[in-house]
């Protein structure tokens, strides 16, 4: 009966509509349209609020930053973008002078005097950074520069008057910016590649106010035409500065990039696309379906599909029938996933009584031992995630591939023994809440976590879920120290390990990024000592030492870096990139050679 009903109902619209066909797109139109799928949606498109990967992605394609990373070179190398050259840095590392390219204009917008975009000047950069220190902006990037640029914090304290000059952030002339730092900040240039540091015209801010977030006025390669909850559409900025692509300079490697057809870009000026559409598809399965149905040209493959697309895991390789149609790249994210213990919680963290403090440490270490990274990797990351001990992810040079991995080896016996030795049993073990924001995967992670713990003898009813309706509420709760077990992930802001080790720096405790509230004086001291250092063997040694401290204290169950698989249509010549927050430039994406040459 049900069948009949369904059939009947199915037939009606089918017959009436003669069956819908997918709407005609790209391939018949001469315009070059590229459709990108993203696994999340950006919130605000105001650069000052481009805190998420997704927002950053859109922002850096609409606005311009002073620096960027080379398109193809890995590990990452900095490259001037709107800046004319790499910065001049004084001996003491405190004074940074940056020269801007001349003749670069904002896009045309009614915000400007005669509706045409004016030239970008040094004071625009100064203004854009200052904005982060104006409470009205609701900026999220200020933490990158606060306490670091001379006078900026005071400027804020004095009321954020843009007409007042900040001693550490000045436009020397129309094309020269000078930044004076309070202490050496080797990562400064990295921060200038981020969407946060994108250059915003003051006229637009004053005209649109908060609505700048939905009405961006930039100077980037693309201009926003529409956005809604599921997609944004951008078109080429016709006045984008001419800047021919130089293969060698961008780090071209024949072995990898030739197959992707990137050599054709040589000498041409981006952007190459006429239209850029970004679909936001949270659902992995839906994203995959959209991709396999040809509705989008590029995706980050959802883990649930790894099974069906890979012919081998190490290194990941695409099945031949897919490889015929798609390009493929596997890369490891620079961030990682981990579970912090809230060290400020006396049930599990620091305790004024030294004996209890020790027992708590034993409990944490037992839980670390009970955690089964292999299993977790297999379940959620198709066994191709990269598990590593501590906080130094495989993506940074400080990672010690030959180091001791016992921290991430499951040792149930050891865990039980540790518990027993320290007087932990079913009665004495504390009730612990495992916090997570609402979500299927999050819940599954929790249930798996609980299973790992019960395997080591932790009673199931003593590990309880603490579910939050929104991510913000979850953050609020753990920032307030209300969550003993904090499931979290970290995406690096820039490819420098400093961004990782600061996660456990005592003064960064909640509400800062140190959600574990880890506070080891030795660790703190080492961090402070390394603060002025560039990447170097000395700094690596310090970082590894810090990593060791962290593991000894068992402040966190850590960690795994996901392996990201990207697939894209062979119609396009491109190089995917999404391992950290800063920068993903769509301006270099082009139609593949064969298609491009077709009339």
């Amino acid at each position: 009966m049900l069948k009949i009903k369904i059939l009947l109902i199915l037939l009606v619209p089918l017959m009436a509509g003669g069956c819908g066909q997918p709407p005609a797109t790209g391939d018949v139109s001469p315009a070059k349209i590229y459709r990108h799928a993203m696994d999340g949606a950006p919130g605000s498109l105001d650069p000052a609020q481009a805190a998420s990967i997704y927002a950053n992605f859109v922002v850096v394609n609409i606005y311009d930053t002073l620096y960027r990373y080379k398109y193809l070179a890995r590990p990452y190398q900095l490259q001037p973008n709107l800046a004319a050259a790499m910065p001049e840095i004084s001996e003491d590392g405190l004074e940074v002078t940056i020269r801007l390219r001349q003749g670069v204009h904002f896009i045309n917008d009614p915000a400007f005097e005669d509706g045409t975009g004016r030239e970008i000047k040094a004071h625009d950069f100064v203004y854009s950074i200052k904005r982060h220190f104006d409470p009205v902006t609701r900026a999220q990037g200020a933490w990158l520069w606060q306490q670091r640029i001379e006078g900026l914090d005071r400027w804020k304290a004095e009321g954020s008057d843009y007409d007042l000059e900040v001693s550490g952030l000045r436009a020397l002339d129309d094309y020269t910016v000078q930044i004076r730092l309070t202490r050496p900040f080797p990562q400064l240039i990295h921060t200038l590649t981020q969407g946060f540091a994108a250059i915003v015209p003051r006229e637009a801010v004053e005209k649109y106010g908060q609505m700048l977030a939905s009405h961006p006025v930039g100077s980037g390669p693309f201009m926003l035409t529409s956005r809604d909850s599921v997609r944004v559409v951008m078109v080429r900025n016709p006045h984008y500065r001419k800047e021919p692509f130089d293969l060698a300079d961008e780090g071209f490697d024949h072995a990898i990039h030739e197959a992707w057809g990137l050599q054709k870009l040589q000498g041409k000026s981006p952007p190459f696309l006429d239209q850029l559409e970004i679909e936001f598809i949270n659902e992995g399965a839906a994203r995959w379906n959209a991709f396999s149905a040809g509705e989008v040209d590029f995706i980050k493959v959802p883990v649930s599909q790894f099974d069906s697309i890979l012919s081998r895991r190490e290194p990941p390789q695409l099945k031949p029938e897919l490889a015929e149609r798609f390009h493929f790249e596997a890369s490891s994210e620079s961030g990682f996933i981990y579970t912090n213990f809230n060290m400020a919680d006396e049930r599990i963290g620091y305790h004024p009584d030294p004996g209890q403090d020790r027992r708590n440490q034993a409990l944490r270490c037992a839980m670390v031992k009970a955690f089964d990274w292999t299993r977790s990797n297999e379940t959620f990351f198709y066994k191709i995630g990269r598990v590593f001990p501590g906080v130094l992810t495989p993506a940074v040079p400080e990672y010690d591939a030959a180091g001791d991995t016992s921290y991430i080896q499951r040792d149930l016996e050891g865990a039980r023994q540790l518990l027993a030795e320290n007087g932990w049993n079913e009665e004495t073990l504390p009730v612990l809440e495992y916090g997570f924001p609402n979500g299927v995967t999050e819940r599954q992670s929790f249930e798996q976590f609980r299973n790992f713990m019960t395997d080591a003898g932790y009673p199931a009813d003593k590990i309880r879920p603490l579910i939050f309706a929104t991510y913000g509420d979850y953050q609020r709760a753990y920032s307030a120290g209300k969550v003993p077990l904090i499931n979290s992930s970290w995406t690096m802001d820039y490819p420098d390990a400093e961004n990782l080790v600061q996660l456990y720096y005592g003064p960064n405790a909640s509400p800062g990024t140190n959600s574990a509230n880890y506070n080891n004086p030795e660790y703190n001291r080492l961090y402070e000592a390394s603060i002025a250092m560039h990447e170097s063997p000395e700094r690596t040694a310090i970082y590894r030492q810090m990593n060791q401290l962290l593991m000894e204290d068992c402040a966190s169950i850590t960690g795994i870096s996901r392996t990201l698989l990207f697939m894209w249509n062979k119609d396009f010549a491109m190089k995917p990139d999404r391992s950290f927050l800063g920068g993903y430039f769509m301006r270099f994406v082009d139609l593949a050679e064969s298609l491009n040459d077709a009339p």
Partner: protein
């Protein structure tokens, strides 16, 4: 109306989600937290915030989304048409089909046709909306089924693409409402058919068509209209919420869903206010229709 706004404000805004931490940068200072809370207005007294809310509703100045800074009014203006286009076919078909089946079953009540329709409607009522959505998606949108329609999305630029995107959600909506509608309409019609004045009609030789379409239908218009009117606000918002979040359709439901999961209060406030208004409007139209349809109300 005041009650609607008050209760929803109390629950959703005052005790509602806190967006502060999502809007904060990393490693924030206490001062920054205070600043954001101030910017979001969380630090103002309850009554002031409620008063502001009412003023916003009355002046239709709904502010900007906390998430993406877009004016809420613009978001509504953009998403409402999409939602309407999405749910309207299902709503209309679901009601018309339900009405037709209900009428049919009521006329043949007790006969096999009635039993068939009623059993089918029980089956329909017993399938969860979620199961229908997922099931239809598997059946129609994936290689495991017929793979005829898109899994998600909404890129409508003409009748063809409209059909392409709207079919599966419409089917889901029809399937989930048809059982309930049929039952309801059958009950109404059956009651109406058993009324004495229909017997009078039969005694005076009126044809079944005249009985059904002239007298039964007109007499049952009041409950039918009530049901239809009052389901509109909910279909537009609640019904589209599941459909849109599952099929990735940029309508008001998805916006609401995102607002719930991200705690975007200006949007939540607007949506609640909007449904409140819709509800009141439905109430008014309903009263108006009553008096048009039923002379006992028009001329007491």
């Amino acid at each position: 109306m005041l009650g609607v706004t008050f209760i929803s404000f109390l629950l959703m805004v005052y005790f509602g989600p806190d967006k502060t931490y999502e809007l904060l940068g990393k490693n924030p200072t206490e001062e920054q937290i205070r600043e954001v809370r101030h910017e979001l207005g969380y630090d103002r007294p309850f009554l002031v915030r409620y008063g502001d809310y009412l003023r916003e509703l009355v002046t239709f100045d709904l502010g900007l989304s906390d998430s993406n800074g877009e004016p809420v009014a613009a978001i509504l203006a953009r998403t409402l048409p999409v939602s309407l286009a999405l749910v309207l076919p299902g709503f209309v078909i679901g009601n018309l089909l339900g009405l037709a089946l209900g009428l049919l079953a009521a006329w043949y009540r007790g006969k096999w046709l009635d039993k068939l329709v009623m059993s089918a409607s029980v089956v329909g009522m017993s399938i969860s909306f979620i199961v229908i959505i997922i099931g239809l998606q598997i059946l129609l949108c994936t290689p495991y089924g017929l793979n005829l329609f898109p899994v998600r999305g909404w890129q409508v630029d003409g009748p063809g693409s409209y059909l392409y995107y709207v079919t599966v959600p419409t089917l889901a909506l029809v399937l989930v409402t048809l059982g309930y509608n049929t039952r309801f309409y059958r009950a109404v019609m059956a009651e109406e058919i058993e009324r004495d004045h229909i017997r009078t009609l039969r005694a005076y030789g009126a044809s079944p068509a005249e009985q059904l379409f002239k007298h039964v239908l007109k007499n049952s218009l009041v409950p039918v209209l009530t049901r239809i009117m009052f389901s509109i606000p909910f279909v537009v918002i609640s019904g589209s919420l599941l459909l849109e979040s599952y099929f990735g359709i940029p309508g008001i439901g998805l916006v609401t869903f995102n607002a719930i999961t991200s705690g975007d209060q200006p949007i939540l406030k607007a949506v609640v206010g909007l449904t409140g208004i819709l509800f009141v409007v439905a109430l008014m139209i309903n009263d108006m229709l009553y008096s048009l349809v039923d002379p006992r109300i028009a001329r007491p």
